[in-house]
């Protein structure tokens, strides 16, 4: 595996796998996080997978206790090198396909007409293209359970709003540039809003606490307002 290690301050190490988003990099990141979830080290606090990096946060005190005379950072790096030197084959979390129902347009998707007009399409065509995409969750960040999703068709890309909305309701689906994503909790934001899902993306009482995880495949499918309301009751 081709990677480099560098410090993020005195209590974290960044494992970097190049600077380009690619399916192969995504797979390597999956393997690294699968590996980290299996190791049992007191100094390992947590890790954050992103597009081309996995950042490992460690307890400096606990690493120092195991490091002997070595610098705790060097000790942590040497352990990571040991773990990463073997080709990491098989044996990692199976890629899940998560189906996410979306009620497109209407009050839930006030910017659907804009996205359609911007691309010279009808709203129905935007819905058709969006719900037939092949999507992968690259990382979770920005807000609890917020997925950075790759794979949206450029035919429905749209620029961010010039001035962000102060409040975007939870579970709203948006488009920003070539990205699509869903706001799990109410936040301010500048994305073009095209629909909403009745399913909770952030579930603080469950484990894991989010519907989506890095590496998941997503299938969006359109539902009617009636179906939305029925599903919402099922999920509340």
């Amino acid at each position: 595996m081709d990677y480099s290690l560098s410090p993020l301050g005195d209590q974290a190490v960044v494992i970097e796998l190049g600077t380009e988003i690619s399916p192969n990099t995504q797979l390597q990141i999956q393997k690294i996080t699968a590996l980290l979830s299996k190791v049992n080290e007191t100094w390992l606090i947590e890790w954050v997978p992103a597009f081309t990096t996995v950042t490992v946060f460690y307890s400096l005190s606990k690493a120092a206790a195991s490091a002997g005379d070595a610098l705790p950072y060097d000790f942590v790096c040497s352990r990571l090198h040991e773990w990463l030197k073997d080709p990491l084959d098989g044996d990692f979390r199976e890629q899940r396909v998560v189906e996410v129902p979306i009620c497109y347009g209407g009050d839930f998707g006030p910017d659907l007409p804009f996205v359609a007009e911007h691309n010279g399409l009808s709203p129905e065509e935007v819905i058709h293209i969006h719900s037939n995409g092949d999507y992968t969750v690259f990382m979770i960040g920005f807000a609890p359970g917020f997925p950075f999703i790759g794979g949206m068709s450029e035919r429905i890309a749209a620029p961010r709003k010039k001035s962000p909305r102060l409040k975007i309701p939870a579970r709203t689906l948006g488009i920003a540039g070539k990205q699509t994503g869903i706001y799990p909790i109410e936040t301010p934001g500048g994305w073009q809003l095209i629909g909403r899902t009745p399913i909770q993306l952030f579930k603080p009482d469950s484990h894991p606490p989010t519907l989506l995880q890095a590496g998941d495949k997503i299938k969006f499918y359109p539902i009617s307002l009636e179906e939305y309301q029925m599903l919402k009751e099922d999920h509340s």
Binding site: L8, G9, Y73, M139, G145, F148, P209
Partner: protein, 333 residues
Amino acid sequence: MIIIHKPGLLSTLQDLGRTGYQQYGVIVSGSMDDFSHRMANLLTGNPEEEATLEMTLMGPTIQFDQEALISICGGDLSPKINGRPVRSWRPIFVKKGTVLEFGYAQKGCRAYLAIAGGFSIPSVMESKSTYLRAGIGGFQGRTLKEEDAVPFGLPSPLGRKIMNSLSGQAGNQPFQEADWSAPDEQRILQKKDGPLRVMKGRQYALFTPDSQTSFFQDAFTVSTESDRMGYRLKGSSLSLAIQEELLSEAVGFGSIQIPPDGNPIILLADRQTTGGYPKIAQIAAVDLPLVAQTKPGETLRFTEVPLEEAQRMYLEREADLSRLKEGIKLKYL
């Protein structure tokens, strides 16, 4: 229970943070000044990770409806009990009915109130820290308000011993301070001068030579648009040599990132888990409490320290804290 008479500017319950969930986009939260937080707990016989009340700039007024052992550490928010000034950095026994009142921060920015036994609030994702934006953790997921009643638990055996000793000395007084305190050199504000020690960030080399020089030479003012999520700084504008779109990656407590407007942002306890702005530097963990104790309007400077030195200084401070912990135990054998 404690009853809140006045809530203060921003009073939230915080522990050492909600770690382990950043991969799900859940922020760490936790106390801004973890050193004062931990010290306040140790002085009441609590485990360091117990939740304390973090009070910001203008503190609350609180009544105790039962006797308690408390400790106040961090910034000086002019605490008074029943109108009489009371000293920080030491255990204090308070009788039922006493009123603890804080004012404006005279020195520092945040103070921590620990109560022996800790606050009896549920853990959410293994932490009692308040996550304001998601409305979870802490006391009902929010800042404290007037008339809130927050229950607290039973002191540890050590907390009980400290409490018994002080209540024996209290006589008719409404409260009794211990005649000992955390040593001066372990009080965070004693160190609050001189530049903050930082390590170069992962994207340091991408900045122009002028920006690199300015960052280490100039003073930066903490703007009023600063909160638990981050401090926005005003000063020299810093820029990249080549405008480059970076891919988002993890950030840390004390990462200093530079958005396109050139004004640095120091990421703090309520930072998002990931960020896409270039990071010019990372503050050494040992100096983070000093940042947390800086008020808007005050200035900060930065100086470089090697990673080895940052790790050594942090471990030294941890050793100090362990010695204090042992010292307290020995005092109340």
